[in-house]
């Protein structure tokens, strides 16, 4: 049995009060409660304050390129589908630079868990708007306010074919821990959008703001109802943020159709040897 300490790496460099502290703790707690240990999980980190978690959470990890953590995680899963794969990314990472990968990973239903740090701002580059920033948000890169409307992460994931879409809040470690575990129990592309205050660069979306605007989904909420789920997603327009599993459905995961033998991971498949059979095509 592992402990949170086993998953604890170097001392974080995050700002005091940053939502990342809570997310990091929830992730490690979820891992422990699921019976994982740092040798039994593959992690793919993007670039940003979220990606910096690579040094603070132990595991077999790759700290890749900005925007590409999902693409990298897909390769990991296909090479070794026996291990759980988790991508830890930011909003700029996932919905901006890597938007295309996110969209197509939803379609592909790759069995990876994506934990998105949605703080509406670029922290590591010191405070420019993220794709989730509200229209009009003033930042260093948008001194007159951002012209675009924000990405709607939940609606985007649902409409593009993700089979598990959840939202949680960085101020509620218990809810985050439970939600992450649900995502890991799901086979398929699991999106966990974490509403996260940035105490340094984003003055509107504070802990106090979210405490007023979040609410937990009812126990009788039906996550299988796609239309109802979209209605929940659209509540973002009214500054209402439902927490919990908003949408869940079942479809074969990508590796279940792409890897020849479900019982053997790709890296352990015996080498192909029947070269004469291939040569027949060239006669």
């Amino acid at each position: 049995m592992s402990t949170v300490q086993d998953f604890t790496g170097y001392k974080p460099t995050w700002c005091p009060g940053c939502g990342n502290w809570g997310i990091g703790m929830a992730l490690k707690t979820a891992f422990v409660e699921m019976g994982l240990n740092p040798s039994s999980v593959l992690l793919s980190f993007g670039i940003g304050c979220s990606g910096n978690m690579n040094d603070f959470v132990n595991g077999y990890a790759m700290h890749g390129l900005h925007g590409r953590a999902i693409a990298t995680a897909i390769g990991m899963k296909l090479a070794n589908h026996k291990l759980p794969v988790c991508a830890i990314v930011g909003d700029g990472d996932c919905y901006g630079e890597g938007g295309n990968h996110f969209l197509h990973a939803c379609r592909g239903n790759h069995d990876i868990k994506v934990i998105i740090h949605d703080n509406r701002v670029y922290g590591l580059t010191t405070g420019q708007v993220a794709p989730t920033a509200e229209k009009g948000q003033v930042s260093k890169s948008t001194p007159s306010g951002i012209i675009e409307v924000p990405v709607d992460p939940i609606a985007l994931a649902i409409t593009q074919g993700a089979t598990f879409v959840a939202q949680t809040f960085a101020g509620d470690i218990k809810h985050m821990t439970e939600t992450i575990q649900k995502a890991f129990k799901h086979t398929g592309f699991a999106v966990v959008n974490v509403l996260q205050p940035c105490v340094t660069f984003e003055k509107k979306s504070t802990y106090q703001y979210y405490m007023k605007h979040i609410y937990k989904l009812d126990t009788n909420y039906d996550a299988a109802n796609k239309i109802a789920a979209l209605e929940k997603a659209f509540e973002i327009g009214e500054e209402k943020f439902p927490l919990g599993v908003i949408y869940e459905s079942n479809r074969k995961a990508y590796h279940q159709e792409a890897v020849a033998d479900d019982a053997i991971s790709l890296i352990n498949q015996p080498p192909f040897q029947d070269f004469d059979a291939l040569a027949e095509e060239f006669l």
């Binding site: 992690l43 132990n58 390769g75 090479a79 033998d261």
Partner: protein
């Protein structure tokens, strides 16, 4: 003997299939072939042509004159008549047009046959094949057996119908034009040979190398690697993924490589350009990856279906920052198989990106290569995964500083430890660092791989011809080998000795070894490349100080021809 058969017609009507069948039949009858397809960047409409040089010895380039031209439309004759040999045989439909000039007309009633057998337009190809085989002195044995195999699932009726069309074309020649039959592909004693193109050679090499994961986004002329490997996927168990873009392609492949799978990607210049940031990541994370780069004329979208060697300097310099990388360039299909297998080994041994360069010409021409030699070579091959390990304890350091620059690489999953691979500069254990001391340690460690490679795996250029006797020496790389080798042969036939220096291991380069090759100042070295800037020349000057006074550069999108080289002697 070299004899050129060419067929042309409207794009989208099966010219490519027909040309390949002709090549395979010639090889089955004991001949060697070199073939080339011309097509515009369109799916339908426009003109397609396929030409096959048939020879009684190995052949590696096209020949200037066409000996038999099959015209499925009038445009074919108009477009290619300037290349006709005197008394070239023209197969045509008298109901469509009548060719004129110093030719031998061989009318074949395509339209009438189609009407008689109630066939679709595409069956013109089958009639053309029957007629062509007749003209060249062959029978229909091989073609009939190919039909029997190809249409086995569709049943006897389909097989028989195809055979009837071929027979009608064949009979039209034998009955009406018997005097024009030449025995070009009459059967002869021969060894078994494979007919494949460069992309198939890469694909074959990748399977032999036990590549487990191939990821690509379609881009001419690299796309057929993706489709070939995908078609083999059920047999080989390779996971072949068509991803959303080339950035996803290479990042997925690096994720798979991290998890322990041999991985490769492929594209042409534009797609390769999108991969460049991740090539740099392969450099610092020290993750093996093989990148197949089939060049076409750029910049940007350029001329998608034509040929050029315009990306050598780009490949050599691809990626920001300083890190080791290996660039290989095969010159023919046997070299492609061999160097592809080597590329996967080098990627694993040095934990670096390895780029295998091709171009439209090499990717798409078919050549005949020895079956036995090829199969022996591949069966002898055992993948070498270098310092890949599957077990380690808690003291394991992913980026341990070593004398040869290569650190043991652990497949994730070992239960006694864990580590991170990091695109940031890192400590030996993989954690991010900004320390000056640690930075220098890691930069130097990575750089030492170059020395280790040059001492152990670099190969100096190959010499074709007798360089001792030759005064004129051509220097090139990649697909140029074909035309240059043919020039060496032809020059010898004319009583002149020339030689060709062929580079396959293009980067990094061993200065001393290369300077030795160019040590004779009495020789006239001519740089020959399919580009406008003489990129190999620039690379050699940069890395070895060797400069070229004489160049032969072609950059109109077309392949170099033997005559261009012979004119330079």
């Amino acid at each position: 003997m070299q004899y050129t058969w060419k067929i042309g017609g409207e794009a989208g009507f099966g010219i490519m299939t027909t040309g390949l069948l002709f090549s395979k039949i010639a090889v089955r009858r004991g001949y060697d072939i070199f073939d080339f397809v011309e097509y515009p960047s369109l799916i339908r409409g426009g003109h397609n042509a396929y030409e096959v040089v048939v020879s009684d010895e190995p052949v590696t380039a096209l020949k200037k004159e066409i000996d038999v031209l099959v015209c499925l439309n009038k445009e074919t004759f108009d477009l290619h008549k300037h290349r006709l040999a005197p008394q070239a045989k023209i197969i045509f439909d008298p109901e469509v047009f009548t060719p004129e000039g110093d030719i031998i007309p061989i009318p074949v009633p395509f339209t009438a046959i189609l009407q008689e057998l109630a066939g679709q337009v595409i069956m013109k190809n089958t009639i053309a094949l029957g007629a062509s085989l007749a003209v060249m002195g062959a029978d229909l044995t091989e073609l009939n057996s190919i039909f029997a195999k190809q249409f086995a699932k569709k049943g006897e009726a389909v097989i028989s119908l195809n055979q009837q069309f071929a027979q009608k074309g064949f009979d039209a020649v034998v009955q009406e034009n018997k005097t024009h039959i030449v025995s070009i592909v009459g059967e002869k004693e021969h060894e078994k040979k494979l007919v494949l193109n460069g992309n198939e050679a890469f694909s074959y090499g990748a399977v032999v190398a036990d590549c487990k994961f191939y990821c690509a986004y379609p881009m001419t002329p690299a796309s057929s690697v993706l489709t070939t490997l995908a078609a083999w996927g059920k047999k080989t168990s390779m996971v072949v993924r068509h991803a959303e873009d080339e950035i996803a392609v290479i990042n997925s492949a690096l994720g798979a490589s991290f998890a322990g799978a041999r991985s490769a990607v492929g594209s042409s210049g534009g797609g390769f350009a999108l991969m460049v940031e991740a090539i740099s990541m392969s450099g610092i994370t020290e993750l093996p990856i093989v990148i197949f780069l089939s060049q076409r004329p750029g910049p940007a979208t350029g001329m998608p279906t034509w040929t050029e060697q315009g990306d050598l300097m780009f490949a050599v310099h691809a990626g920001h920052g300083e890190f080791p990388k290996i660039v290989l360039a095969p010159g023919d299909h046997s070299e492609m198989i061999e160097l592809t297998m080597k590329a996967f080994d080098l990627a694993d041994i040095y934990q670096v990106p390895v780029i295998v360069m091709s171009d439209m010409l090499l990717s798409e021409v078919h050549m005949s290569i020895s079956y036995d030699k090829t199969q022996t070579l591949i069966k002898k091959h055992t993948p070498n995964r270098g310092k890949l390990i599957t077990s380690a304890d808690e003291t394991y350091l992913r980026y341990a500083v070593t004398e040869d620059g290569v650190s043991p690489r652990l497949v994730p999953g070992e239960s006694r430890t864990f580590y991170q691979t990091n695109s940031y500069e890192h400590l030996e254990n993989g954690h991010t660092t900004e320390s000056d001391v640690e930075r220098i340690k890691q930069v130097d460690k990575r750089a030492r791989k170059v020395k280790t490679y040059l001492a152990n795996h670099f190969l100096p250029p190959i010499v074709v011809g007798d360089i001792e006797k030759a005064i004129t020496v051509f220097v090139g790389w990649g697909s140029t080998k074909g035309v240059a080798s043919e020039a060496v042969k032809k020059a010898k036939g004319m009583g002149k000795e020339i030689a060709y220096i062929h580079f396959t291991h293009l980067f990094p380069l061993d200065k001393t070894a290369i300077q030795k090759v160019f040590s004779d100042a009495t020789k006239k070295y001519i740089l020959v490349e399919n580009n406008s800037e003489g990129q190999l020349g620039k690379l050699l000057q940069m890395e070895t100080g060797i400069a070229f006074e004489h160049t032969l550069l072609r950059y109109d999108g077309r392949a170099l021809v033997v005559e261009q080289l012979l004119e330079k002697i």
